[in-house]
């Protein structure tokens, strides 16, 4: 039992990263029907921005975290401007291709500039260490990640559910033309959505850095697929669902590996697909009704 709970706790950080990424995914999907594969690179760019602030410029952790989020926003807006705005209104396939191109382009650029070697991402002192409760190790970083997840998740839900902008987003995702005739500036809403989604990717990047202590140019590749599946599990377009989906996947994947014979560790990625197939067969619309879409 202790082992089970310990493994769950270990999976929480990974689950939180997926939750934040998945929430961003689901928002851009809800608003413009876009599956943004470059979201993983936005996440990676955020991690690099924080890394440079922390290790090259020697700035304090809090400042580096803010710069990381700003870095993610900058790349996210750039992707929107270059890869999506010019082809707005074209079919899903076109958006799919441009997002893939943006993803590969940005990743390759980073590999060329910074190689794909892992770079250290050191934790601030206050996040180091762990509490020993009974037989359980509870890392301080895990507690911090969970607090951030809850706070950011709650803010996000408030924004989507209660604010004027959130209502405009959801109205627009349902019927863009009618929303416009209410005076909703849909261009502006799209930009705001990209800013929020990218900021969430930035938060995920900081969570990742704190959890694993290193970053690399290709770090966005795997999480982006998992996060996409997390948002499908939660019901594409549902922010809360994406957060829950991310946690299920992250914790589930960690448990899956924990109980797998060591020889079969390579099957780790299989887990998300198993979950995805079960969801698609049992409840194709996802666990929750879409609240953005």
């Amino acid at each position: 039992m202790t082992y089970f709970i310990q493994q769950m706790l270990n999976g929480v950080c990974w689950g939180s990263v997926l939750a934040m990424l998945g929430a961003g995914y689901t928002m851009t999907f809800g608003i413009i029907g876009l599956v943004n594969f470059a979201h993983g690179e936005v996440f990676m760019a955020g991690a690099f921005a924080a890394y440079f602030a922390l290790h090259v410029a020697g700035l304090p952790f809090g400042v580096a975290a803010v710069l990381g989020i700003l870095g993610a926003i900058a790349i996210g807006l750039l992707v929107e401007r270059i890869a999506f705005r010019p082809v707005r209104g074209s079919g899903m396939i076109t958006l799919f291709i441009t997002s893939f191109a943006a993803s590969i382009g940005i990743r390759t650029l980073f590999v060329m500039l910074f190689t794909d070697r892992a770079k250290p991402f050191s934790m601030p002192a206050f996040l180091k260490g762990a509490y020993l409760i009974g037989d359980l190790f509870i890392f301080k970083k895990t507690i911090a990640v969970v607090i951030v997840l809850v706070v950011v998740g709650a803010l996000l839900m408030y924004l989507v559910k209660k604010t004027k902008t959130g209502i405009a987003m959801r109205a627009m995702s349902y019927d863009s033309e009618t929303a416009q005739s209410m005076g909703i500036n849909t261009e502006r809403i799209i930009i705001i959505t990209f800013i929020i989604a990218s900021a969430l990717a930035g938060v995920a990047a900081i969570m990742w850095g704190v959890s694993y202590g290193r970053i690399r140019s290709s770090m966005g590749m795997m999480p982006v697929v998992d996060a996409f599946i997390a948002s499908v599990i939660g019901g594409l377009g549902n922010v809360f669902g994406a957060i829950v989906g991310g946690l299920i996947l992250g914790i589930g994947e960690t448990l899956f590996v924990a109980y797998l014979p060591p020889d079969l560790i390579g099957l780790r990625t299989l887990f998300v697909w198993i979950v995805l197939f079960i969801i698609i067969i049992v409840k194709p619309s996802g666990l929750f009704r879409a609240n953005i879409k």
């Binding site: 209502i167 959801r170 109205a171 416009q180 005739s181 209410m182 005076g183």
Partner: protein, 240 residues
């Protein structure tokens, strides 16, 4: 009645793709008026409204609202000048609750106080909406959806309301409610451009009317005159 011009379409030509639908349509709506646009299906009534809203860019002609040229304005800017729309088929946001739909309609309002004020006004016009305020709009009945579409359009306290077929598919009782509400809305200062199949109802509450045929205005005049017109009687009012 004031005769100040609120909306003026001059020789507007518009259409979809290569296909022109409107051929030089001219319509005037004065402040404080209810003006009706009659016509059979497919003569361009909805297209006229879409062109005013900016959802469709006219190829030729000019549209003025409250003295300003809105011919090529994007829809959200036209809305900001005080033009609200209650679309045909209602087009309510089915994923939002009733109150969220109304708040979406109030997007242009600046303060919470204004929001509250207009929400109360709409609730007093349509008490049913207040009862259903936390219900998902997609689950409302057709009549309730029509009330919601009208209520949503009124939330912005518009100068001009464009109404597309508000009585379509409604029970007679509700048609009466719609008509009474329009008269009431009009009394409180909102002008109305009404597109209606139900010519009898439309001419009853309007001051002026236009009859459209094949993308052009075929006939216009005071509502009373139109009601008395032999052709209108025969074709639109069903009186032989």
């Amino acid at each position: 009645m004031s005769t100040e011009l609120l909306l003026e379409l001059s020789e507007v030509t518009a259409g979809y793709g290569k296909m022109p639908v409107l051929h030089g349509v001219s319509i005037k709506c004065h402040r404080g008026e209810i003006v009706t646009l009659l016509g059979a299906n497919g003569v361009g009534k909805t297209t006229t409204l879409r062109t005013i809203l900016g959802q469709l860019k006219p190829r030729d002609g000019e549209i003025k609202f409250n003295g300003a040229d809105i011919t090529r304005l994007p829809p959200h800017k036209t809305a900001a000048l005080g033009v609200a729309h209650s679309p045909e088929g209602r087009n309510i946001f089915g994923n939002l609750t009733v109150i969220e739909n109304l708040r979406a309609g109030a997007h242009l309002l600046k303060t919470r106080k204004e929001l509250k004020e207009h929400l109360d006004r709409v609730y007093s016009m349509f008490p049913r909406l207040k009862e259903r305020r936390t219900q998902i709009a997609g689950s409302l009945s057709g009549g309730e959806q029509q009330m919601l579409a009208m209520g949503r359009a009124l939330m912005s306290n518009p100068r001009l309301m464009l109404l597309d077929e508000p009585s379509l598919g409604l029970a007679p009782q509700l048609v009466k409610l719609v008509a009474d509400t329009l008269t009431e809305v009009n009394r409180t200062g909102t002008s109305v451009l009404l597109v209606e199949q139900n010519a009898r109802l439309a001419l009853e509450i309007s001051r002026y009317g236009y009859v459209m045929e094949k993308g052009a205005i075929a006939l216009e005049g005071d509502a009373k005159e139109l009601s008395a017109d032999e052709q209108v009687k025969k074709v639109y009012l069903g009186i032989a």
